[in-house]
């Protein structure tokens, strides 16, 4: 899933201060699960904004709405919902960065008589997993050429601070990474895992240079499935 954190309240407030009609738009998928941008968070943010502006004697209307996924047209096409979008001065989206951009593009495509302004209320962080109650960790950088098969299912690109393909570096100590004692050394985990699997031989040959073209380094990526486009 994609994880995110809510932006500091003051930053959000500053970003919407010039508008009279604000729609806080939550997203019911990833950011709801990581409790940053779901239904409850949208309601709380809307009431916090109402309160803050109200205390300043600033007459602002703040509503909250929710869609299943802001990264998908299908969930935002309801005409009644689009009417509300059109009425708002600004859409404060608390989806991930993908949702913010997609909602913006979609609204401006279907609503043609007025430009729709969509701004973010979250800082999108990473692709990760919910490890424990209240704990999420990064797991994948979307490098486009997965090596997990060689590394015991532990990603050296996303989880080693230096993205080493022939680790561990000389800073690995007691199973922890040199940059932070709270962080597991990915290569220590890889070796432990491969030992259990009896596969340690796999990492003995030198792993050659990675071709980063499949990653973000190759420029923003597009995925085309011709068979589905026909």
């Amino acid at each position: 899933m994609i994880t995110a954190d809510r932006k500091p309240f003051e930053e959000i407030k500053e970003s919407v201060k010039d508008y009279k009609k604000i729609m806080v738009l939550g997203c019911e998928t990833c950011v709801a699960i990581c409790q940053a941008g779901g239904e409850k968070e949208a309601e709380i943010l809307a009431s916090e904004l109402r309160l803050a502006f109200g205390n300043e004697g600033n007459k602002v209307e703040v509503n909250d709405e929710l869609v299943v996924r802001q990264c998908d047209d299908e969930f935002m096409a309801d005409p009644a919902f689009l009417e509300k979008v059109k009425e708002a001065d600004v859409i404060l989206s608390i989806a991930c960065g993908v949702g913010v951009q997609h909602a913006c593009k979609f609204f401006n495509r279907v609503i043609t008589d007025k430009p729709i302004r969509v701004i973010p209320g979250l800082n999108t962080t990473f692709m990760g997993a919910n490890i424990d109650v209240g704990l999420w960790e990064e797991r994948c950088l979307g490098c486009g050429d997965c090596v997990l098969e060689k590394t015991g299912g532990i990603c050296p690109i996303a989880r080693c601070a230096k993205s080493l393909l022939n680790g561990p570096c000389g800073g690995s100590s007691d199973g922890k990474c040199e940059i932070n004692k709270e962080l597991d050394c990915a290569w220590n985990l890889i070796i432990e895992r491969l030992e259990v699997l009896g596969d340690l031989e796999r990492i003995k040959p030198v792993e050659m240079y990675k071709d980063w073209r499949s990653s973000y380094s190759g420029g923003p990526r597009k995925r085309v499935r011709e068979d589905l486009r026909l």
Binding site: K162, P168, C185, N188, V206, W212
Partner: protein, 307 residues
């Protein structure tokens, strides 16, 4: 000959070599480099030039190495994978070679979060082991990574680091073996204080015959004070300082700690010289360059051999 550097030729001759280390200044002050160089000249066989060590911005290792050559010393240019992608690495290596730099050390590099610009974006395009292979391909096959021919003669004696004190311990020797497989010519180890663990490591190295495929230089650093020893043991990952060494420093009493530190160092250097598989010492007397002559004299490693 791989590069014909002084370091390579001495090692080939079977001499017990000693390399030193010089940290460039945090600015373009050439005099700092010259002063440190003068203290090391004639006392060591080659001098490592650190590459923005601990991610603190300093004069580039390539420029500092060039100044050293002008001063009549032989540099061992360090290069880290943190700040350069393969394009910049190969380009800098051509430049280094054109300047007459003949030794280099391939390193991953300390993460930028340790340094004075933790906000920086890092690179880590290729890692230190791939860097070794890249330099070897450039030297032996006259080719860049992409396979294009290199114009002119590229010579380099290729070094890398090994840390027997990092974890997981049982895997460290295999990582060294990977460096050998990638084509490393010499290795400098992390500072050794825990002689027992180091000897265990060297036994594995010798059993695997790695010392016959590359030259291994044992890393040492003098301890100047009890505080420094404690700080290093606690904060520098991959350094182990046994309590008995700290006790010896403490026991030396006020005013004598530094002398005791040098005494310990000289004993370590002697012991390492007798250790199977060790071809030399890498003496890292960082910000203590003025003590190098004294240390080398005390341990009986002067004068340095010539070719």
């Amino acid at each position: 000959m791989k590069s014909g550097s002084n370091l390579e030729r001495l090692l080939e001759k079977g001499e017990f070599v000693v390399t030193g280390e010089l940290g460039p200044p945090k600015g373009p002050d050439v005099d700092v480099v010259k002063k440190k160089a003068a203290m090391l000249k004639g006392n060591v066989d080659a001098v490592n030039i650190t590459d923005n060590q601990t991610a603190i911005v300093r004069m580039s290792s390539i420029a500092t190495a060039k100044i050293l050559i002008e001063e009549g010393l032989e540099p061992n240019m360090q290069m880290v994978a943190r700040d350069r992608n393969r394009i910049a690495m190969m380009s800098d290596l051509f430049g280094a070679s054109a300047f007459g730099i003949k030794n280099m050390l391939c390193l991953s590099g300390d993460h930028q979060s340790f340094g004075n610009h933790p906000e920086a974006k890092n690179v880590f395009d290729i890692d230190s082991i791939q860097m070794i292979y890249m330099v070897k391909t450039m030297r032996d096959d006259h080719k860049m990574i992409c396979g294009e021919e290199i114009e002119g003669d590229f010579k380099m004696f290729i070094g890398a680091a090994s840390n027997p004190f990092a974890d997981p311990f049982q895997y460290r020797v295999h990582r060294l073996a990977k460096k050998v497989e990638a084509g490393v010519d010499f290795i400098q180890t992390q500072c050794i204080y825990d002689m027992k663990r180091f000897k265990e490591f060297m036994k594995q190295v010798v059993d695997m015959g790695l010392h016959e495929k590359c030259k291994i230089l044992a890393g040492v650093t003098p301890l100047k004070s009890v505080g420094m020893a404690r700080y290093m043991a606690a904060n520098v990952s991959g350094i182990i300082i046994p309590e008995e060494i700290i006790d010896r420093l403490k026991g030396a009493g006020k005013g004598n700690v530094a002398t005791e530190g040098i005494k310990i160092l000289c004993e370590q250097m002697q012991e390492l010289k007798e250790t199977e598989g060790i071809a030399g010492i890498h003496l890292m007397a960082i910000e203590w360059e003025h003590k190098v002559a004294e240390i080398m004299e005390k341990v009986g490693f002067l004068p340095r051999p010539t070719i």
